[in-house]
Symmetry: C2
Subunit: 345 residues, 2 copies
């Protein structure tokens, strides 16, 4: 954590204390605060309060948004357009494959893949995104200084290097059953939508899906054999209105539309938020080329591929981010146009 | 066909001719009519004109109801509460199993199982119903004197013995591609709902499902692996609003409610129709015991099983038929009460 982000934390220590410790009532022992400050001094460790520009805008929309987030990795990853992928801790081989392949495909499309670092579907989704050299976000139900689950230390390090681990729980918080449903609202709240891959009835994944629906986000579910108990949860969700998906493109098509609809609200809510399209000079250059190639007449991805020489998945990914940022607009039939930015004229 | 049902046919020969032959404009050769009359003389062969009491009431509701039906077997089977089961001619082993097991379970619940006598899902559904000693109806796309598909001669004979084969096409009509979609409206039109088991996109089964929806009937679909091309049609239907079903009971619960809602309209439309609950003295006795056991206070199936000593599936099946006949009413929570028959007092 840099001094710049530490200062606001220290200034609002009264409320930050309640974040840094488990009890809002008792003043935490000085040793706890000192341990937290020492953790924050290590590279890639951050605390992001609710009023920070880098606080993820979709999460900020929740009425019960965490007052602050501990982050290990790149906090700006939390503001990327995200798909949550959740499911059983004991999936079938097929379910694991689906989690990995949907994550991989959608990461290539420009979505960050968000999950809960659990064994099973969660880990397969994180690994699928990492394998595609995409961005992935792990929302933890423990303090970020706790290795949980113990077997996922290496996966956590890889996620921190290509995205972020995030928790609202104070450092030192052990894995407590009661904290996981609470954690799930952050998984769904960071994301444009939640995909449930394989889930039993009455499972935590269905809680995440219900939270996503309550938050006004999309819920997707993969159907499967009626003889597999782990499709019951998915089928129940589909009956309740979740979108049945067969391919990653089914999801991308929906989220692209949703991202477009959300963009103005997000920009109004968080005018100063970090623009993922301005993350670096090389990135900026690519976006500039794409915007130049895209006039105010609708153009398809194919046309833009031809005009820019970029790969189709790169173009699709950049268009999604530009749409979220309100710079382009998608049109019926899969074409795009630049948006006239009236306020800037 | 008995003389009693033959007479109305002969009296309206002007319109019956158009049924007995392919062209409504040309007068059929006498030889064609004579062949039809000879066919009708054989035992179990019938022609049921639209105005006959035994004409199936659900089919009569269609704006394009056939003006008459050739029937081989028991015409009253066409008026039983029915579920259509349709699907691919080249199903997977799993799809075939589903067709047979759903058909068998729902036949035991008291539904007749209706399909198109085709190879694949159709045949598995007919066989499932027959294996459960249930009633099954085959709607043919050819004249009933044509063995089609050729391999299903034995199956057709078994269906005629435990239900009925039915066709609107004149005797001698060969298998013509254009007639099968037309035939499909009879499959869905006879039935309270249509279950699609496995179906490719742009397949005949989806036409049947669309016709069912247009006719205001239920559409059910079984989900499956996203890697099976034959679940695509089912998944498309679910996206369009078909009910995703995992078990036969999912279907039975829906149809029971629909049967209850349809009963008054059907009774008003066809006051003289054959009452399936009065098919024979032994059957009557069982229904009498059940009605006696069921008072005007709501009782559950379990309670009725205890009071009557009948098996649960028998009780459920009889309740469905009594509900269709307007003699009992289902209440929220799965209980039943007798209906007060005001007109009879």
């Amino acid at each position: 954590m840099h001094a710049g982000t530490l200062r606001p934390l220290l200034e609002r220590l009264g409320s930050a204390e309640s974040v840094l410790t488990h009890s809002a009532a008792a003043r935490p022992p000085d040793a706890t605060i000192e341990a937290a400050l020492r953790w924050l001094e290590r590279p890639g460790h951050h605390f992001v309060p609710l009023d920070a520009a880098v606080y993820p805008p979709l999460l900020a929309q929740l009425t019960d948004a965490p007052v602050g987030l501990f982050v290990r990795g790149d906090p700006s990853a939390l503001s990327l357009p995200q798909l949550a992928i959740v499911g059983s801790r004991n999936p079938t081989a097929g379910g694991r494959d689906h989690a990995a392949s949907f994550a991989s495909h959608l990461a290539r499309c420009g979505l960050a893949i968000t999950s809960g670092l659990a064994i099973g579907i969660d880990a397969a989704a994180h690994r699928g995104a990492l394998g595609a050299e995409g961005i992935t976000v792990a929302v933890c139900g423990t303090g970020l200084d706790i290795d949980y689950p113990p077997a996922h230390g290496g996966l956590a390090a890889a996620i921190a290097a290509r995205g972020a681990l995030v928790s609202e729980f104070p450092l030192g918080t052990p894995p407590l059953q009661m904290n996981f449903p609470r954690r799930n609202r952050i998984i769904s709240g960071l994301s444009l939508g939640t995909l449930v891959v394989e889930a039993a009835l009455r499972s935590g994944s269905l809680i995440t899906a219900r939270l996503a629906a309550d938050q006004g986000r999309e819920v997707f579910a993969i159907p499967g054999s009626i003889h597999n108990p782990l499709t019951r949860g998915c089928h129940q969700l589909i009956r309740q209105g979740a979108k049945l998906v067969e391919t990653g493109d089914d999801i991308f098509a929906e989220l692209r539309a949703l991202a477009g609809a959300l963009a103005p609200a997000l920009q109004a809510a968080v005018p100063g938020r970090q623009n993922p399209a301005s993350a670096g000079p090389a990135l900026d250059k690519a976006y500039e080329i794409l915007l130049d190639a895209l006039g105010f007449e609708p153009a398809s991805v194919d046309v833009l591929v031809e005009r820019t020489g970029f790969a189709a998945d790169e173009v699709a990914s950049m268009l999604l981010i530009l749409e979220l940022d309100g710079k382009v607009e998608s049109r019926p039939g899969g074409s795009y146009v630049r948006r006239v930015l009236k306020a800037a004229k």
